[in-house]
């Protein structure tokens, strides 16, 4: 009995010690920077390095990377951005709004080295941090424009440029900036989509705002795939100009593409069954427009 107690005690203290060393490992801030838009922190926990915006408000990590296994994508939502490949399997011209740590464009560049990738990021400081700490590099086929996504898309539309894979992943202080949520913006995005293009928009699956956003996308694109995973608080809106393909096509494509995505840790085979067209939002909500887009006010409610 006594021995058993001792054993328990030593086990408890061992666990305690483990927890202490863990937490010691946890808190190494390797870079801090105040940009015009946000506080940027780079925090390393063991091998895992994360980009965190506005750390004092308890915001979550924007991007994490395993410094010893850089290919592996860590967050569900980053992996979910690849679900668009089920609709457009071989993108040639890709637009990504919002750089973060740059893991998403790097993975796309790795997968499709011949595709032209344009990234738009409003904050120069984020570009610098992605390059310095997250192994992001521009190359002949991949470049970053420091600009507002709305301005970039509008100008691309006027110049007649088209993309066949567009990822909207631009987040500001609280959420997606208001002017990147409106019907007018989505119409402008539509203008720069090729006929077979896919649009992948990263949004949150919680908050009252979910309804407004869903209604707005529906107004512009009609039916879309709603892509949610139990492991993630994000909801991807995946849509194209043509009517959505049947599930059979998605499954066939996922089988063909899954091997090439394995090294990034993207479980593409699981995705087709998660793409839903069921309306699970309040259809009576108001469409967001340039005239009416109180997004940041709605979010808290």
């Amino acid at each position: 009995m006594k021995n058993r107690f001792k054993l328990l005690l030593s086990l408890v203290s061992f666990c305690g010690l483990l927890a202490i060393t863990q937490s010691l490992v946890a808190a190494e801030v390797i870079h801090e920077e105040k940009s015009l838009y946000r506080d940027i922190n780079v925090v390393q926990t063991g091998d895992r390095r994360c980009l965190i915006f506005n750390v004092h408000r308890g915001d979550r990590n924007q991007t994490c990377v395993d410094v010893n296994n850089r290919d592996e994508l860590i967050f569900s939502y980053t992996k979910m951005s690849f679900a668009g490949l089920l609709l457009t399997p071989e993108p040639k011209k890709i637009l990504i709004a919002g750089l973060g740590g740059g893991t998403l464009p790097l993975a796309f560049n790795d997968l499709f080295p011949d595709a032209q990738i344009d990234v738009v990021e409003v904050d120069q400081a984020v570009v610098n941090v992605a390059k310095e700490f997250f192994f992001f590099e521009e190359n002949a086929n991949m470049s970053v424009a420091v600009n507002d996504a709305r301005v970039f898309v509008k100008r691309a539309g006027i110049l007649g440029e088209k993309y066949d894979y567009i990822i909207l992943d631009a987040f500001g202080g609280d959420y997606i900036p208001e002017h990147l949520l409106t019907q007018e913006f989505l119409e402008e995005v539509k203008q720069i989509m090729t006929e077979d293009a896919v649009l992948v928009a990263n949004t949150f699956s919680t908050s009252r705002f979910y309804d407004h956003e869903s209604v707005t996308y529906q107004r512009v694109f009609g039916e879309f795939f709603n892509f949610k995973l139990p492991t993630s608080g994000n909801r991807m809106i995946i849509t194209q100009l043509d009517p959505l393909p049947p599930r059979g096509n998605l499954i066939t494509r996922s089988q063909a593409l899954a091997p090439s995505l394995e090294k990034f840790g993207v479980p593409l085979l699981e995705y087709p069954n998660r793409l839903s067209t069921r309306v699970d939002w309040d259809m009576s909500r108001r469409v967001l427009t340039d005239q009416y887009s109180p997004a940041n006010l709605l979010q808290g409610n």
């Binding site: 015009l36 409003v122 507002d148 709305r150 509008k154 002017h179 427009t289 340039d290 009416y292 709605l298």
Partner: protein
């Protein structure tokens, strides 16, 4: 301030929501107000009267209407000719907001002149006016950013602001008319009595 808060929203579709857009907007509002103060002060030295005062409100209301009606027509060519959104938003701010804001700036110094009847009271009156106008600005900012954008379209709020300015102008004209009428009536009355 209501217009200023909405100003950024109006320009965002063309010039984005970057911090330089706010910079342009605030710069132009400050420049316009300073010009307005100067001109308003100068005008107050020449026969100050409530009618001119009322015209400031009506002028500001009318010159605000293009923000609602022609915003796209004004911003599109600027967007097409100026590629840098910093200068684009600066020029757009000038064309959209300079005139109404400078007219609004004329109100403060002019009302000081109308309300001050002696040198001793001038500081007190000016303080009171700054107090009222700045409290009003704070209220407009808060109401617009917290509530109006949640309840109304941007253009509806702007029409509301135009209506308030027109109403203020008309009330001043009406009061002025009634006071003048009473004055002439009593003059006529006094004249008749003398006879």
């Amino acid at each position: 301030m209501t217009v200023e808060m909405l100003g950024a929203r109006i320009m965002a579709p063309y010039f984005g929501g970057s911090i330089s857009v706010w910079g342009s907007l605030i710069t132009v509002f400050m420049l316009a107000l300073s010009v307005g103060y100067l001109v308003g002060g100068r005008l107050s030295t020449r026969n100050p009267n409530p009618k001119t005062f009322a015209l400031f409100f009506i002028g500001a209301a009318i010159s605000s209407i293009p923000i609602i009606v022609f915003a796209d027509a004004i911003m599109r060519p600027i967007f097409l000719t100026i590629e840098d959104p910093r200068y684009g938003s600066l020029f757009a701010s000038i064309f959209l907001y300079f005139i109404p804001t400078s007219i609004l700036g004329m109100i403060s110094p002019y009302s000081v002149r109308l309300m001050v009847d002696s040198h001793e009271h001038s500081g007190h009156m000016a303080g009171l006016l700054f107090f009222v106008s700045t409290i009003g600005s704070a209220g407009g900012t808060l109401a617009t950013s917290f509530y109006f954008v949640l309840w109304f379209d941007v253009n509806q709020i702007l029409w509301g602001a135009v209506a308030v300015l027109l109403l203020a102008g008309s009330v001043i004209l009406l009061i002025n008319y009634l006071l003048q009428k009473r004055a002439t009536d009593s003059q006529v009355l006094g004249y008749e009595k003398q006879i």
